[in-house]
Amino acid sequence: MTAIGWLQIILYCVVIVALAKPLGWYMTRVFNGERTFLSPVLRPIEAGIYWFSGVDEKREQHWLTYTVAMLLFHVGGFLVIYGVMRLQSVLPLNPAGQGAVAEDLSFNTAISFITNTNWQNYGGESTVSYLVQMLGLTHQNFLSAATGIALAVALIRGFSRASMRTVGNFWVDVTRCTLYVLLPICVVYTLFLVSQGIPQTLGDYAEATTLEGAKQTIAVGPVASQVAIKMLGTNGGGFFNANASHPFENPTALSNFVQMLSIFTLGAALTNVFGRMVGNQRQGWAILAVMGVLFVAGVAVTYWAEAGGTSTLHALGLTGGNMEGKEVRFGIVASSLFAVITTAASCGAVNAMHDSFTALGGMIPLINMQLGEIIVGGVGAGLYGMLLFVVLAIFVAGLMVGRTPEYVGKKIEAREVKMAMLAILVLPLMYLGWTAVGVVYPSAAASMANAGPHGFTEVLYAFTSATGNNGSAFAGLTGNTLFYNLTLASAMFVGRFFMIIPAMAIAGSLAAKKSIPPSAGTFPTTGGLFVGLVVGVILIIGGLTFFPALALGPIVEHLAMNAGQLF
């Protein structure tokens, strides 16, 4: 570890915190339906969309209707992706002549993109056409992100409203999020990325003759426009197989720094939106502080482990850390930082191969996802995941002092706690259960690329990533098999909707409650005690759930490595 490395990490944190407030202010205006500086241009388009689709923007929805609208929207998105993938060989914009994608792979990919996971069992440049990248994948990058933010806003409304039956209008929230937040940022962001060297063309793959006379086919495409939303929307699905480590997806140190910022920025700003909507920005900062504590701890461990290297490298006298699977322009620090960011949020883009990380360095991304990606989290998903833990923490605090727990003026009662527990328990059931099947079912076990405990970690990582809707991988695992295409799709599906539906049920039940003014007995939820309590609850629940699995994977691998054992 070096001082300059830590300075990069500190700079990153400072910029994220600095952006949270102005972005939070802007997004609050967007979701309250107020005018913004973009309204003169975008308002006519917005009104036109409502008119064509028969949406009455003044009519708000009950939480159940809101949820049903969201589910219908997902069904449509699924059909679009599945359709263009199956039909890509007869559709235009296919200069590389890719054939139709197989049924199970198309199914997996469609589930993957509508759930904001962007798990990739396909290699972008070798499997899908430009049309699929744009119409199938780029569009869902926008819409699954907009959906996540809309749901988080609906949950925030649940906390901030009193005695109301509705939580907002799903169609309006999705449309406004897409038009006013995601698209304008992406337009500017795309141009920045192209200036750094990311291609944006519909032309054929380039043919080069190298200095030594060999032929090199260089895959290009409409990359920048997809990378912009892939990062901003914490989708993470790469245009290329190697994702953000590919020089065409992440060409410079600056593009890397900005991409890391864009993973966290909307999620961090949502904590500020929360604070503003419940009437006290300090409530938002307290949540961001919980996230910050867990994040910095994770970065420190991964950076330390990667800078330390492996016993194999040491035995050969190689110093400078574990550079296997990392790019020179990012080095140890930016690769470690990126890995923690992308799994703390539900992004899943990678600028280094997590499979080649040290045992402990790769364990932190795994833990981040197993905690439910609540550290900043996916756009929206992180905030509602975190609020579920807050509900539990408040409940625990209430038990300790013997009063009905309250949070931002709302009584937290049996229904909210049950729903929070449902969401928190279903996720480990998915990733632990499927991992157990994956390591014993013979044809599935053949997918492991590494032997020994590392192979187990590959399987655990895959199902954790799918359940957490992250999409990063220990990429040695051969995922494009019937078993993994179907099981991972089921994990992604359950991971998304068994988080969303309980969260929406909480939103609906909270919105209907009366608001009670704080009294002398109210547990303060803006101070250090609250931050410590939430961090504690997260670590205890997380630790109890997945420590045994970690012990079988990264922990035993670390011990084996120190003992000099190879597999």
């Binding site: 969309i49 028969g54 169609w171 999705v174 080069a208 090199q216 426009s225 699977g325 499979d355």
Partner: protein
């Protein structure tokens, strides 16, 4: 509930058209006009022929060129399409080795490469990036140490004074952005092009 079906179809189609077609196509036109070179992939031409991309590494084996990092990219086996074969710097199928820290295959590969490099230049420590594969398999850069390590071999193969080669390495080295962000690095293709120019 039934009245949510119309927006589920129409609104989805409208937003799909905006974000999936209008946005990427408009960005292609605008980016192509403002940054024509980058938008096409930063291709480098020499004597009218494309020799590669400034951002994509390529394989160098000749002693007179600086070598990039090992690459783990694959290509379909020409004899059996269900299998793959090693194809370093295949820019149509990026990827890393995905070998873990306790992999015996990785340990064997590292030992072989380290031994080879030690025999080439016994006087310097082997830089770690010169024996490890990159994440993309297309890393265009090596560390300044990895370039320095190869100076004696390149100078000998080209009959050039070592100092002249060292100078070319120094002038091809890019530092950190504002002295802080990223890592110092040398673009291998740019350095080799500069070498060829200096030899003329």
């Amino acid at each position: 509930m039934l009245r949510e079906i119309r927006p589920a179809i129409v609104l989805l189609l409208l937003l799909t058209a905006i974000t999936g077609l209008a946005y990427p196509l408009a960005m292609t036109v605008i980016a192509g006009a403002i940054f024509p070179v980058q938008a096409q992939g930063s291709l480098i031409e020499r004597d009218g022929k494309v020799v590669g991309s400034a951002l994509i590494g390529q394989e160098f084996k000749d002693d007179k060129y600086f070598h990039g990092r090992p690459s783990a990219t694959l290509a379909p086996d020409p004899n059996d399409s269900t299998k793959t074969v090693s194809a370093p710097y295949n820019a149509a199928n990026s990827g890393g080795s995905n070998l873990g820290p306790t992999s015996k295959a990785l340990a064997d590969r590292l030992k072989e490469d380290v031994d080879k490099l030690k025999s080439e230049n016994p006087n310097a420590a082997v830089p770690v990036d010169l024996v490890t594969t990159s994440a993309s398999g297309l890393d265009p850069d090596i560390s300044p140490d990895a370039a320095q390590f190869q100076v004696p071999r390149v100078a000998k193969a080209r009959n050039m004074p070592e100092d002249q080669v060292k100078q070319l390495v120094a002038s091809s080295t890019q530092g950190r952005l504002i002295g802080l962000i990223g890592e110092p690095r040398v673009n291998v293709l740019a350095l080799n092009l500069a070498l060829d120019r200096a030899a003329k």
